[in-house]
Symmetry: C2
Subunit: 359 residues, 2 copies
């Protein structure tokens, strides 16, 4: 068990050693450890190795000159100058929030960025400003559109955070595939099969092999197959990709750069780096704040009080599970696989910062 | 077979007889017949009976005073004054387009409206202005959120239309359930079973009975069950509902009024009528128009040229099928079930407009 505080200070110290500003180092640490606290380990400190290796390979710039390259009253395009994803994304989301104060809403498309961690983090930055926050990103290609066997899309997540009054906020944060990539690896490690609709083999036959991607297979979009609505998952994933790439000036679909250093840089590029898309909408640009929050509480209570199906859990509001885990993990500490502890020790050694067992 | 032209003129004449302005009558006719032309019969002229009956019952206002009740640079709230959905929705989408010309984007939340037909129609209004159009609506409750057996959500569709250059535009228009409500009726009429993940019985057990909703069952969100990602379909559907209701001042989830006259007005109301949410984003608020369109063509061509899975169709771009059907049906005419022809004759008789067999 490691305390969130210790892990944050370790990541921050390492990043400062390799040239990040104090502020940028703190942001990356906060994004990664917030993912662990919220129970999304696949996007937590486990990713620090990839960020570190990409920096070592010259594919991440730790002193980026992030800037707005184009704007209107309610939009901006941000060039991330190959910075760490969390640094670029936080900058862009803050641009959206600041400009929404004047225009009511603001929408920021980002190019030249990298893997940004959990989308929910950025959407939640809007909450304390009484705004709805939206965040999405494209990601390296693993997913085939309906009818295809080609990896043209990433798991392309969408996050929407909506403030409430007495109730905690609504925070949806989900990939546009039935499951996350990391969960396939977990199934494989446990010797379990993948459920119908998760993956297909290289010819497009249904498969239950969680390792099928290594054998030329692909992941499928939410819905699984055409009959069960995979074309709707494809639509959503495509919209996330287009907003994050064509609108942003970043690479689209199959040309999104790998987020791990062991995969080579792609030969063809159709834009700059990885792309994201953010939105901030002031709730009082639509309704009186108090009215909105009261009604949002009523919405949440209506859903929370719904009847459960036989032998099922109570109805959850998006964000419930992650918020509860956050509180638990903050007290209890974060459990890490030995292999992740190994990564951190290795990184620490390489950067000259001791990783010590704590808590 | 009936020509689109004839059906439009019939609907227009009837609506003028009952008090609609020429312009409003033309809009409703265009929205309904466009759905038939695009092959979405469930939202076509078949719905005219419901609109007509709701008017007869005093639940639709054919001379609405639609107005903006609140606005900022990039937002507006529109009160539809109980008008026909297509009239209110067209007004609101045009507000979004006009305000986006100045602000870069605009987002319009609508209350006090009714069933608006196909979401895609409104999103596509943005295309000729070189804007991305977004449309969504809540709908009468038929769908249970993950883990529940209560009808708390509608089929809540989302449409996104994105301009391209030489390629036709990308037009996604999809419900946040695996299938549309109307398709269940179709399965029942054909004596077929519903696939896994479409519906559940009143206790929450999986069901293959396409008539289960009449027996206390519910539809399920995209994904079907928790294992296959139904919580992601629930998140999407919830976001559509909240934007269209809490943000708009309309009724949410279980309180959305029925879109058919044979169901009674609900006892409890938590807002005004049915709600919608629209967005318009100028593409040149992000990129140079020409660059965007060229890149969008490249996106489309990349997907169109992807390899198909074994025994599957070529990869489709959202909107392809509907656009092809539109061209075919415009020439060939629109086929209608005898029952729909019956409705139209009945409406015609009631309004004093002859419905004659034509082509």
């Amino acid at each position: 068990m490691y305390s969130a505080e210790y892990l944050k200070s370790f990541v921050t110290e390492v990043l400062k050693k390799i040239g990040c500003s104090d502020k940028d180092a703190g942001i990356v640490a906060d994004v990664l450890i917030t993912a662990d606290l919220r129970g999304i380990e696949s996007h937590g400190v486990i990713r620090f190795k990839d960020y570190f290796e990409l920096w070592k390979n010259g594919r991440i710039n730790v002193t980026p000159d992030i800037k707005i390259t184009h704007e209107t009253l309610s939009t901006a395009v941000v060039d991330g100058d190959r910075g760490m994803g969390p640094v670029v994304a936080s900058y862009a989301m803050n641009v959206a929030i600041e400009k929404a104060k004047n225009a009511g809403t603001c929408w920021v498309a980002v190019n030249n960025s990298n893997h940004f961690g959990i989308a929910g983090y950025y959407s939640m930055l809007a909450l304390k400003h009484d705004m709805i926050g939206i965040a999405m990103t494209n990601a390296n290609p693993l997913v085939a559109p309906t009818f295809s066997i080609d990896k043209l899309l990433g798991t392309n997540p969408i996050a929407v955070a909506i403030p409430a009054g007495k109730q905690p906020p609504f925070v949806a944060d989900f990939a546009t595939t039935p499951i996350a990539r990391g969960k396939l690896d977990l199934l494989s490690k446990k010797g379990l099969k993948a459920s119908t609709g998760f993956v297909q083999d290289k010819e497009g036959n249904p498969s239950d092999d969680p390792d099928i991607i290594k054998k030329g297979g692909t992941m499928l979009t939410l819905g699984g197959d055409r009959e069960h609505g995979s074309h709707k998952g494809y639509c959503m994933s495509a919209v996330v990709d287009i907003f994050s790439s064509v609108l942003a000036g970043a690479n689209f679909g199959p040309f999104v750069p790998p987020s791990v250093a062991f995969l080579p840089v792609l030969e063809k590029s159709v834009g700059k780096g990885t792309g994201h898309f953010f939105g901030a909408m002031r709730i009082d640009a639509f309704q009186k704040k108090e009215d909105f929050k009261k009604k949002m509480d009523e919405w949440i209570e209506t859903f929370r009080n719904a009847r459960s199906a036989k032998e099922q859990s109570k109805v959850l509001i998006p964000g419930d599970v992650e918020r509860e885990l956050y509180e638990i993990n903050l007290k209890k500490g974060i459990e890490m696989l030995p292999v992740v502890v190994g990564y951190l020790k290795e990184i620490g050694k390489s950067a000259g910062v001791d990783f010590i067992k704590k808590r």
